[in-house]
Amino acid sequence: MRAPTSGPEVAAGDVLLSVENVSLSFGGVKAVTDVSFDIRKGEIRAIIGPNGAGKTSMLNVINGFYHPQKGRISFKGKTRSKMRPHEAAHGGIARTFQNVALFRGMTALDNIMAGRTLKMHRNFFWQLLRFGPALAEEVEHRHRVEEIIEFLEIQAIRRVQVGRLPYGLQKRVELGRALAMEPELLLLDEPMAGMNLEEKEDMSRFVLDVNNHYGTTIALIEHDMGVVMDLSDRVVVLDHGIKIADGTPDQVKSNQKVIDAYLGVAH
């Protein structure tokens, strides 16, 4: 797959995105307090923590849904404090949601094709005629989308309205839509939530394959510790909006603060 067109290239292993001292609050509720971490190009970075730790808020900050009151975020060397979601999309950040956010009335194929909106440039009048260059563009993108469909093994449900699909497949289509954007950074918000063991294994395989095959950097929120420890290169742990640990899975596992946060402390 081609790299996104905008911004300078980042070599593997270098910092792709860094979050510096970000604080976010809603009225009196502090969702995230003074959190800093970075995501390196090509790695799988997990963000974990108990419920309400501010993980999803963190993702929302990264892709521009929320604007933090304090702190900075730099992506591919460019620093910004405010960014709209569609600008994040332009920059090469894609995302899946905790509770599937597919276009329910559209087919799986159309959902994934919609992910390629940014890559399609033929204007309104060509679209009206759907002839020559416009048709050629459509077919070219269909080829790319079919590669993704094949990769995710969802050929059989191409023409099915996604609202009628079982949950596991919806999650897969949503991953497909994110992949269609050919992102540089893929944010996965609980990709395995509500899945059985087999579906989790499948999804883990897809995540690893995306990372290996396309070289996509992945930031992932997940509650299944087995999955997190096996998949991720580095883990950042949040609790009540504060970063309590950051490091390799093994380091994090043995961190006393993390154990306390998950198991509770005796008073």
Partner: protein
């Protein structure tokens, strides 16, 4: 058995993405177009043409317009009548300003005025959704209705305060005005409607159609994949109003021959909305079904007592019409909330698997 795609293999994506991938559908549409363009003009009476077919086609186009907005982009609008009116009045002004220009070009051009006005009244949609947006578009309906009544410039200061359609010819054949034959008008309307439906289907199957539906189904996720909501919504308003505007212009110039401000009031907006809902939200063919149903059913109901030789007073017939129509609308919404288009789809699916149940 007769309607089955077995053995029809696609070898390219462009073949797979065609409007009618199934051979039987292609034959079907060719037959329908043949009937509409050749057989009907030769056989239909002028009553059928000017009181049934022309209005059904025009309302279908208006319903397509509203469907693009409400069915495909998910923006509820009650301003359809007003936007149709903008098209009609714009066309009237254009014919007075350019008496020698081709009338068909003017009818199509008047759509652009409607599109502009529609985009302006679509601005609230950037902030509000659902029923609240319906109220905002209702305001546009009232404002435009007021303009049609109160701005005499729109009707060239006519004493009657109405649009009086002038005679315009093309190749020496009168297209509009009292001398135009129903057959000519029917053919012009049919060509415009078929052409614009084709363009709409192109638009809907491509990038723009997908962005509209994405905004309808989940605007947050749409923004996330790089769709700009304001552009998408305003484009939907503009295109939708263009269709409504052309429908309005055709309604006056190719069907009624004269029109007052009342033709474009809130009732018209509701009528088109009913057509869209009965026909099926988010379906082009549903727009045709809806228009045919809402316009055709009263005509059928009016003819029924006569057909069975029952003598009923004319007023009673009319009351019965309203009651039956209302009851049928409720019946349809209960039985099939997705409209006639869904029934059509189910029918096609049944035919595919016949004689087996599934």
């Amino acid at each position: 058995m007769f309607y089955r795609e077995a053995g029809q293999f696609k070898t390219s994506y462009s073949a797979d993405e065609s409007v009618f991938p199934i051979l039987q559908d292609r034959i079907g549409i060719a037959v329908i177009l043949g009937l509409a363009f050749v057989v009907i003009p030769l056989t239909a009476t002028s009553f059928t043409l000017s009181s049934v077919l022309i209005p059904v086609l025009i309302f279908s186009l208006a319903a397509i317009g509203l469907n693009l907005l409400t069915g495909y982009t998910g923006l509820l609008s009650l301003g359809t009548g007003g936007f149709m009116g903008v098209g009609a009045y714009a066309c009237y002004k254009l014919t007075s300003l350019f008496p020698n220009a081709n009338i068909i070009v003017l009818i199509l051009a008047s759509g652009f005025f409607s599109a502009g006005i529609g985009a302006v009244f679509g601005l609230p949609s950037l902030r509000i959704k659902g029923f609240y947006l319906a109220v905002a578009t209702l305001a546009s309906q009232f404002f435009l209705s007021w303009c049609f009544v109160r701005v005499p410039w729109l009707v060239n200061y006519n004493v009657s305060n109405a649009i009086e359609v002038p005679t315009r010819t093309m190749f020496d054949i009168p297209i509009t005005g009292p001398n135009a034959t129903p057959m000519t008008r029917y053919l012009v309307v049919l060509s415009i409607v078929v052409g614009m439906t084709w363009l709409a289907s192109n638009l809907l199957r491509g990038r723009i159609g997908r962005t509209w539906m994405a905004v309808r189904d989940m605007d947050i996720a749409a923004e996330l994949i790089g769709i700009r909501l304001y552009r998408t919504k305003l484009l939907a308003f503009a295109v939708s109003s263009f269709y409504c505007g052309v429908a309005g212009a055709m309604m006056v110039f190719l069907w009624l021959g004269a029109a007052e401000a009342d033709s474009f009031n809130i009732n018209q907006s509701f009528l088109i909305l009913f057509m869209v809902i009965i026909g099926g939200l988010g379906s082009l063919i549903g727009s045709f079904f809806g228009a045919a149903f809402i316009w055709g059913l009263p005509i059928v109901l009016k003819m029924l007592p006569e057909f069975f030789g029952v003598k009923i007073h004319a007023a009673t017939v009319e009351h019965l019409q309203f009651m039956t129509l209302g009851a049928l609308i409720i019946f349809f919404l209960v039985v099939e909330p997705h409209g006639l288009a869904r029934l059509w789809q189910i029918g096609k699916q049944k035919l595919r698997v016949w004689p087996f149940p599934y």
